[in-house]
């Protein structure tokens, strides 16, 4: 559970005795060549497919460009337009709503289901399989399946509602419901991951601690509140970051359920970037929107890490 890379990076002692006849400089060059032969190909691919394009995007964001005609330099004007763009405002609002619904739900459901799956009861293997299996289905397939389940005419969701005597709903075809339904579908596909992670974290909580608390007279709920929850804290910080990134970057599911509709009600910032770049060919403006999203994501991540650190200090 502990991330060890920071401690180990500099602690490689010189292990190999220097053979007497060789000059140290030749050895350094040889070692460096060997090291890069090992690490180079993967490093070049990973860095070349992310940092290099990210820098390029910065320059694209300073142009007006449709991808074919020569680009014209517009300086910072794209960013000025982002701030005034009503579509961008709506997309940002949908993104915030989706994230605010998705992240706490995923974490709470993950903890709840993980606690349930951590019990020693019959059928537990069956339950685990059932709950984890949607995670391996692609978001695209999940979206197609969900658009059938939530189909207003023939779908299973309305069938259940009518069986319960509740009014029929439009779900993904209603501008006021679509975003919530998308969030529910995303939870269905992603909660398995949060559950697995919390289950592993729960099994890492020292048994002695729990037993000691029970000996001291704490009830089950108190044990959970004062022993289990603090132990889950680091995992929860990680899950908050992970699920926030998942929500902010959600694309596949929106593409195969609503394509941003109805009436743009599920158009998130990511989907808007896709539309700008690949549907309306406004590459420069799209890159500017993407950069703004990047900045917000970074700030949010830092805020969550900072909050986690501060909270951690208060707890001890």
């Amino acid at each position: 559970m502990t991330v060890t890379f920071a401690a180990s990076a500099g602690t490689q002692p010189a292990r190999h005795q220097q053979p007497s006849g060789r000059r140290p400089r030749g050895r350094t060059i040889r070692r460096t060549l060997t090291g890069w032969a090992f690490a180079g190909p993967a490093t070049i691919i990973v860095v070349g497919l992310s940092i290099f394009p990210a820098v390029w995007a910065f320059f694209i964001a300073r142009t007006r460009w449709n991808g074919i005609a020569p680009a014209t330099d517009v300086g910072w004007r794209n960013y000025e337009r982002v701030v005034q763009d009503p579509d961008m405002g709506a997309a940002a609002q949908h993104t915030v709503v989706l994230t605010a619904l998705f992240v706490p739900s995923a974490i709470l459901l993950g903890i709840l289901i993980a606690i349930a799956l951590n019990q020693r009861i019959r059928l537990i293997g069956f339950y685990r399989t059932c709950i984890f299996v949607p995670y391996v289905a692609s978001a695209a397939a999940t979206g197609i399946l969900a658009s059938w389940v939530f189909n207003p005419q023939f779908g299973g969701a309305n069938a259940i509602l009518s069986r319960l005597g509740l009014p029929q709903q439009q779900f993904l075809e209603s501008p006021s419901q679509a975003l919530v339904v998308v969030c529910v579908i995303a939870l269905w596909g992603e909660v398995g991951f949060a559950t697995v992670v919390y289950l592993a974290a729960l099994q890492d909580v020292p048994k002695e601690l729990i037993e000691a608390a029970i000996v001291d007279g704490a009830g089950r709920f108190k044990v959970f509140l004062h022993v289990t929850m603090p132990a889950l804290r680091p995992v929860t910080v990680f899950m908050a970051i992970w699920e926030t990134i998942t929500a902010l970057q959600m694309f596949d599911l929106i593409y195969t359920t609503t394509r941003g509709g109805p009436l743009n009600s599920t158009q998130t910032v990511v989907y808007y970037v896709y539309e700008l770049a690949f549907q309306t060919q406004r590459l420069g403006y799209g890159a500017a929107v993407a950069y703004l999203l990047f900045a917000v994501t970074m700030l949010l991540t830092l805020a969550v890490i900072g909050y986690g650190r501060r909270g951690g200090r208060e707890a001890f």
């Binding site: 060549l33 090992f38 019959r122 059932c130 289905a137 695209a140 397939a141 890159a287």
Partner: protein, 276 residues
Amino acid sequence: MPVKRRWLPFSPWHLLLMPMSLIFVLPLVQMVLASFMSKKQLNRFPPQLIPTSFHIEGYAKLFAQSHILLWFLNTVLVSTISVVSHLVLCSLAGYGFARLRFVGRGVAFIAVLATVMIPIQLLMIPTYLLFARIGIVDTIAAAFVPWLASAFGIFLMRQFFLSLPVELEEAARIDGAGALRTFLNIVLPLARPALVTLAIFTLLSSWNDLLWPLVAISDDTRFTLQVGLASFQGTRRTEWSQLMAGNVVATMPLILAFLVAQRRFVATMTFTGLKG
């Protein structure tokens, strides 16, 4: 011994877990059943859960009217290349960063870790342009090039190699084996669990990827399953049996793999969550 009071003949956790399990697994069961239903059976309300008769017209039309077989083969090819490349390149790089000392190691490793902070939307436009420059737009290379190696894979392998005792390697080096010999003969055979985790992670990511092939491939014979299904959905919004048949073809290989090797899959998810 205190006698536990039981107000139910079974654990109350079943009251939560049973409906939860059904919520998670019933849609998938429905997907499979619906793929074997006729259009008439599907356009009925309330829907039948268990069909009275089985039909294969969904599959027949899917195979006749789309390139699903090609999409399936393309996806298998993309995933195979991605997994093999990941295993080779990431284990080499992981070993390099874990054990070899060379100029630029620290900077290179930090650069690799920093890439995980860059969101995919920022990369969409320039990566598409990059693919256009190197001439792989509209080829299946556009679907596997993003999965040849990953920061996660390099990190995973590095952490694993750091956890191995160094004495074995030292013995091999003293016996005169070079870095590559030591890596191949001594270290790699010990790395099986990490390699399985990496393979599963890469298989899931590359098989399920929609965005990269979607932006870079428009020739429908070069589609992967995910892009193919999404485009098929766009043109046949109401052909549910065909769409569900396509979904079955696209998801069943991974679901079956999951059912067979659940323990390995769960270990992969755990590692992603706890170390990623």
